[in-house]
Subunit: 517 residues, 2 copies
């Protein structure tokens, strides 16, 4: 992955004529090409790792797996939020970890955590580096040294149980690698978040990632049977059965723990037979309200779609629809006979709510382009536009008011700043009782775009908190959402999180400055 | 509920001629009528509640809601395991709480917990009193006073969101009361554990209860959207949305916490429209192996049954089948068109695994009698037979060996004790990756039946632990399973549980002697 942009250079694309025209007419932006930046010109903080400590780390891992070189450290500056990209593009000194280390297995991770606890060295676990909430920033806090632990070398499928349909994957396995390893057995995980191409199994678990097929296969946390987690006080395996009544579910403590309570080194996940075929649907609704009513009904339907995504009027228009209203896309994965029956039943739900079954072309196009949005964001930044997303989840009853209030907050703050935005939203993860809401914001860049975005996001986040919606449905907390965690979990919840932290990480070296309020 | 037997006297039944004959021929037991016991003859420990403390409790709750009377305390001696029933029938002094208190709301519960923390008074939360693991025993430990908090007065549905399909029920609402309140809105919770008639919403949450319709509607923990929990350090509400990525899922800490971390005072649950109709199926399999292979396939099926239960050869025979093999029963709840299609699809799965579709009579009979087993146990005890159950869950791949090893352990220990048993088992909760295993044991009563059962159960439980199965799928931990919790969760897990306990209940007054290793 590029250090200063999403993904790999070969996949970058220029803005389409339509988008350039939209930027001009709707936002008053004259697209201008970006001044080229390259790794050669970046300036990193110097490594503060002492020679003694370097030798100690090398004794644990071997010299080849401890790096203080700029060419390595530049790839571990943090994640890929718009704030991150703005900072990388700024030409300022970049805060880098003092070293990056590459353990091969859980024993090496445990030795590292014991050493770092003893020496009071901050430790940042790093998977694919796709965080959009500052989750892997090498925050120094009060530590004189901060090292990043890459899970890159832990790449194996260590067990496959074809009877129970579970696979044990090491933390560093990426989305495509998992699918490739499983495909040779006719199996699939079915977890396709936007970060799919780069993100890792350990990261999916540590952040409660949710993929585009969550309606069909569940969120990543639903897929986890058991996990191996290395903490400074020892290695633990949680999860002895699919379900248990033996007390609190400790898997659910480490899921979403974002490297603050331990480092997840392997995960046993539920897998399923590769689907025989996919049925596509595009539905049109006169407005978002009727579309979300249909989505509520579909969410409760036995055999509901595998993928479900409903764009609001603004997103539908920006995506090129000329008919007004809202477009929804859906896929149904399974056997031929079943997917047709399910799609037919879903069509009935849709039409009962005033929707229309349209050509499935938009669903196919959505699938074809579904991992492209982060590349588009880079192109927009290049063109002088600010583009970023934020998300939440709430109940079906509260959905309309949460959406309206967050939209207004974003429009209000950015308009006041002299940069009136386009705010688009969609539903892309559904539950019987509620759904996620995902917002995309595009506007002209102000003088200080970081402050511009932070101010807008703060207003949106405060609106979520006030309305009882959750701080994040699948982006996680990291550094950016930490100031709101106390509102999210309350005083007792915050006390409980801190108690877990103290028990598992007594020296408090694990991923400082993230998650724990 | 009777103090010394399951349920209500009107529902008791004599043993059938078939069962009496089975006891004689298979176990060498000559059924003899039980000597009548009654509340008048029971002797309870005297209340040690001081006058000052009584006045303090009355000041919080009102005098009418604090009781030290034997006629009240006798109903709070503990749960309803066979060990409990043996102790009640023994004629010995019964250990009773020093007082029973009946708070009306979460503020009163909070005041109680603050007072008891300050005064170092042990507190046992009590819902329906249906625990079979000693979960509500008034354990004194090092405390001079132990009081039981009944949730009986907290009986309201405080909110209903018909759009999101969630209902907020106070902790003391029982299974039938919940269904009745929801039915008037055309809704249902769909949670039918064996304890349904008496157990409470708070208890379901605190013990991770699982109902007979778990294949269709999920376990109780799956149904929980949010919870209000009163802890000594404050009141917390966990759960802001169906799903969230805002750190560890704190609902999953309080679910299964068995009153050791806080008292759950209300739960917002997912509900669903009352099903239009039910389709019944009975399937016959030549053996348990083919039946469980079919159940694995059914568990992964879209539109799987609502109830799924597969009896092994022994249970099938005891239930009166003359054909050998294994009988499975299933129900499908939903709309007429859908349940027929789902049942038809399931029949295909069953026949592909060598099963036969039989008359649905056994499924209807199972449904009719599904809450009767605990009454039968009392009749067996009356007749001089020892009858008890235990359960676990494991992966599909491990199921056969876990079942065989636990069965052998039970048969081995009880045969060695001179009381060879009948051991029956069934699968009644399924997941894509594994299932529960439920064992019923009947044998002649030895001189000291408590030691007889404890020895057998210990052997079975050690087998579970050795094989990586879970300590309990839905009975919870309580006092009886506490010695095995360290094996279940490991050293790090135990440290984590203790840290949670210290943070939330610093005076350690909540439900002592249960769950926390």
């Amino acid at each position: 992955m590029s250090w200063d942009a999403w993904g790999i250079p070969e996949n970058r694309r220029a803005l389409s004529v339509e988008v350039e025209s939209l930027l001009r007419t709707a936002l008053g932006i004259s697209p201008h090409p970006r001044a080229d930046s390259s790794q050669n010109s970046v300036r990193l903080t110097r490594s503060r790792l002492s020679v003694e400590r370097r030798h100690a780390l090398e004794a644990i891992l071997g010299a080849a797996h401890v790096s203080t070189e700029d060419a390595v450290r530049v790839h571990f500056l943090g994640g890929k939020s718009t704030l991150d990209l703005l900072a990388r593009r700024s030409g300022t000194l970049q805060f880098a970890p003092d070293a990056v280390v590459f353990p091969a297995n859980e024993e090496e991770v445990h030795a590292l955590l014991r050493y770092c606890s003893d020496e009071s060295i901050a430790v940042v676990p790093f998977g694919g580096g796709t965080s959009v909430v500052g989750g892997v920033d090498p925050v120094r806090e009060w530590f004189d040294t901060v090292i990043t632990i890459s899970t890159r070398r832990m790449k194996a499928m260590t067990a496959l149980d074809e009877v129970s349909r579970t696979a044990t994957l090491q933390a560093g396995v990426t989305g495509p690698e998992a699918e490739q390893m499983l495909a040779s057995h006719g199996l699939s995980l079915g977890h396709y978040p936007q970060s799919f191409a780069f993100a890792s199994i350990g990261g999916f678990a540590a952040t409660r990632s949710s993929g585009q097929a969550s309606a069909g296969y569940g969120r990543f946390d639903d897929m986890v049977e058991s996990m191996t987690v290395v903490t400074p006080i020892g290695i633990t395996v949680c999860g002895r059965a699919s379900a248990s009544a033996a007390g609190p579910d400790l898997r659910q403590v480490f899921l979403g723990s974002e490297g603050t309570l331990g480092i997840i080194t392997s995960v046993t996940v539920r897998v399923h037979p590769m689907p025989e075929c996919t049925e596509y649907r595009s539905w049109w609704f006169p407005d978002f309200v009727s579309g979300s009513a249909a989505f509520r009904d579909l969410a409760a339907m036995t055999g509901r779609p595998t993928v479900m995504r409903l764009s609001d009027e603004a997103e539908t228009a920006v995506n090129g629809s000329k008919d007004g209203g809202c477009i929804a896309v859906a896929t149904f994965e399974g056997t031929r006979a079943q997917v047709e029956a399910r799609a037919h039943m879903a069509d009935g739900v849709v039409t009962a709510r005033g929707g229309d079954v349209r050509s499935p072309e938009s669903a196919r196009r959505w699938e074809h382009e579904r991992f492209d949005a982060p590349y588009l964001r880079d192109a927009l930044l290049d063109a002088g536009a600010l583009a970023e997303t934020l998300e939440t989840a709430t109940s079906w009853a509260a959905l309309a008011s949460v959406r309206a209030t967050i939209s207004s907050a974003l429009v209000g703050v950015l308009t006041e700043a002299g940069t009136p935005p386009i705010v688009m939203s969609h539903i892309s993860h559904v539950y019987p009782t509620g759904a996620s809401l995902y917002f995309t914001v595009v506007c002209a860049t102000a003088e200080d775009p970081s402050t511009q975005w932070r101010t807008a996001k703060d207003a949106a986040t405060r609106a979520m908190m006030d309305l009882g919606a959750t701080l994040t449905h699948h982006h996680a907390v990291g550094r950016d959402h930490l100031p709101y965690m106390k509102s999210e979990v309350g005083t007792v919840g915050a006390t409980l999180l801190r108690a877990m932290k103290v028990a598992l990480d007594p020296a408090s070296v694990l991923n400082p400055g993230k998650l724990i309020p």
